[in-house]
């Protein structure tokens, strides 16, 4: 479509729209980005622009055993969540798509439910359950809970990809003697790999970023980074959080770039 605007309207008559657009984009991006230069400040009270550049708060972060342990717990939980949630989500999406059962609708709703249910209710429910199972303050419990929250993203992404995929290709492979499993691994999986990758990335981020559930079920030795950050923010404004935030923004940008490079390019390219 050469003229995507549809309406013949002179660009100068839309200046207000462009100006408003720029303002909203700045509102979306600037507040987060501004934390990065501020984190290199030296004072207890962070300023922009920083009076004096230093790595004080980065040293404070790296020098603290508590922050380091919390980071380690969060990373471990995020990797484990990704490794468990991705295959579970792919299996469920494939099973649901291929079997075309009458119950499919019900199962789909059940699997997407963790995205819709109020997170605070989910959190106290899991806390209540774990108190009886002795899973509170354990990494295992944390990973199981995060899997439930991350799996729907994998499921939705992969199911969307399967809906746009011609299952006959797999049927051809099976008619030529491949088992269903071999046909899936060699024919289907390579073609939906971008969506699987996007789903895995979302699972990783979901776990790394999750705060409310972690607030209830992770503590002591198994406290996550987000839990410690939340407490540090609620009780006082600890400048160390600025350094951690900057590092997390770096991680986000890296993952976003990875997602743009390896993610579902097919779908992105199809948008008119």
């Amino acid at each position: 479509m050469a003229d995507s605007a549809g309406v013949p309207i002179a660009p100068w008559r839309r200046l207000w729209l462009y100006a408003l657009g720029v303002a909203i984009v700045l509102f979306l991006v600037l507040p987060t980005v501004i934390v990065v230069p501020m984190s290199f400040g030296n004072a207890r009270f962070l300023r922009f622009p920083p009076q004096e550049l230093s790595l004080r708060w980065y040293h404070a972060y790296l020098g603290s055993i508590e922050w380091r342990d919390a980071t380690w717990i969060s990373l471990k939980a995020a990797v484990a969540t990704m490794l468990v949630a991705t295959p579970l989500g792919v299996m469920a999406a494939y099973g649901l798509h291929a079997s075309r059962l009458r119950m499919a609708r019900l199962i789909e709703t059940a699997l997407i439910a963790p995205l819709i249910l109020p997170l605070i209710l989910v959190s106290i429910a899991i806390f209540f359950l774990y108190a009886r199972l002795g899973l509170n303050n354990t990494v295992t419990g944390l990973v199981l809970a995060h899997c439930c929250l991350a799996m729907p993203f994998v499921f939705v992404t992969v199911l969307a990809a399967l809906k746009g995929y011609d299952m006959n290709q797999e049927r051809v492979a099976r008619s030529l003697g491949a088992s269903r499993f071999v046909a899936f691994i060699t024919i289907t999986l390579p073609q939906i790999r971008f969506s699987v990758f996007s789903g895995a990335l979302l699972a990783f981020i979901t776990s790394l970023d999750e705060t409310v559930v972690a607030l209830f079920i992770s503590g002591g030795d198994a406290a996550t980074l987000t839990r410690r950050m939340f407490t540090a923010l609620r009780d006082e404004i600890d400048p160390t959080v600025a350094a951690i935030s900057s590092l997390l923004i770096g991680v986000t940008l890296t993952l976003l770039a990875l997602g743009l490079v390896f993610g579902d390019r097919r779908r992105a390219g199809r948008q008119p």
């Binding site: 408003l20 922009f48 494939y94 059940a110 109020p118 605070i120 404004i237």
Partner: protein, 291 residues
């Protein structure tokens, strides 16, 4: 059609295969059922029982107490306000996105996705730093002479609303943009060729066609606001008591599971009711989950 001699065996084989495929869903369904559905059901039962195990509505009756009704009021006020601002900001941005060239569109897209992917806590922290008494916003307002005294922008209703708007805006823009790209531009052109002014073709042709997307965004943002915990807890500084915080306090401070369960059940019912009505009326589902 004549049935072959092995029709029965074929049908049995197909049923068997379907069962096998169905088994693939079970690990995921089991995990979610045990970790999420089971304890929610448990809490549901708990909200109707006394400590001795008898049946009661006492936990629900207590929710009429002013301390709780105040938190419902705050929650609904904040949710309405944030949803309205998000719609007012999100619509023009999504519209702009649907009108500009591919390069600009990609840039706006990234700027919408960037906060979406950044940690919620990082963004909340950023607003805490910017809005505090000696923060950047107050410094700037004073230097430009707009205000003499620093404004109270954080640890109150204002700060909570600003932070929540920032966090919810992408949830509004994405379904809106999806709806706008689905509009056939030939309708707009047709109205223009029939003599409608640009303003008229926008309001009478384009806008009504994007209404389902707008409603999807509104519902999504509103529902997410209702149960929001992290940002109000940090930016509200304990002065803005939301529904979610009443639930947290009942558990963490008072260990009152009956009250917490009842509050949670009502929150769930309200959330599901809104989603159900909207889905019935407008088929909102198509746009939600397009993360």
């Amino acid at each position: 059609m004549t049935e072959g001699p092995n029709a029965g065996a074929l049908a049995a084989a197909e049923r068997g295969e379907r069962r096998g495929l169905f088994l693939l869903c079970t690990p995921a369904v089991l995990l979610i059922s045990i970790v999420i559905f089971l304890p929610i059901g448990w809490l549901f039962a708990l909200s109707f029982t006394t400590e001795q195990g008898g049946l009661t509505l006492e936990h629900y009756a207590r929710m009429l107490h002013p301390a709780y009704t105040k938190s419902f009021q705050t929650t609904f006020e904040l949710s309405f306000l944030v949803t309205a601002i998000c719609a007012a900001l999100g619509y023009p941005l999504a519209y702009l996105m649907s009108q500009v060239s591919a390069v600009w569109r990609a840039m706006i897209f990234v700027s919408v996705l960037f906060p979406f992917w950044t940690s919620l806590l990082v963004r909340t922290y950023a607003w805490l730093v910017l809005l505090q008494r000696r923060g950047l916003v107050n410094t700037w307002l004073q230097e430009t002479g707009i205000v003499d005294e620093p404004l109270r922008l954080v640890h109150n209703f204002t700060g909570t609303a600003i932070g929540m708007t920032h966090i919810m805006l992408p949830f509004m823009v994405l379904p809106l943009y999806a709806a706008m790209t689905a509009v056939d531009r030939d309708y707009v052109r047709a109205s223009a060729s029939l003599g409608a002014s640009p303003l008229k073709s926008f309001w009478q042709v384009f806008f009504p066609l994007t209404l389902p997307g707008l409603l999807a965004g509104v519902v999504l943002v509103f529902v997410l606001c209702l149960g929001f915990y992290v940002t109000p807890a940090v930016l509200g500084g304990g002065r803005v008591l939301m529904w979610s915080m009443s639930i947290e306090r009942s558990v963490a401070v008072y260990s009152d599971w009956g009250a917490a369960s009842a509050l949670g059940v009502v929150l769930l019912v309200v959330t599901l009711a809104i989603l159900w009505v909207m889905n019935r009326l407008f088929g909102v589902e198509r746009f939600i989950g397009a993360r």
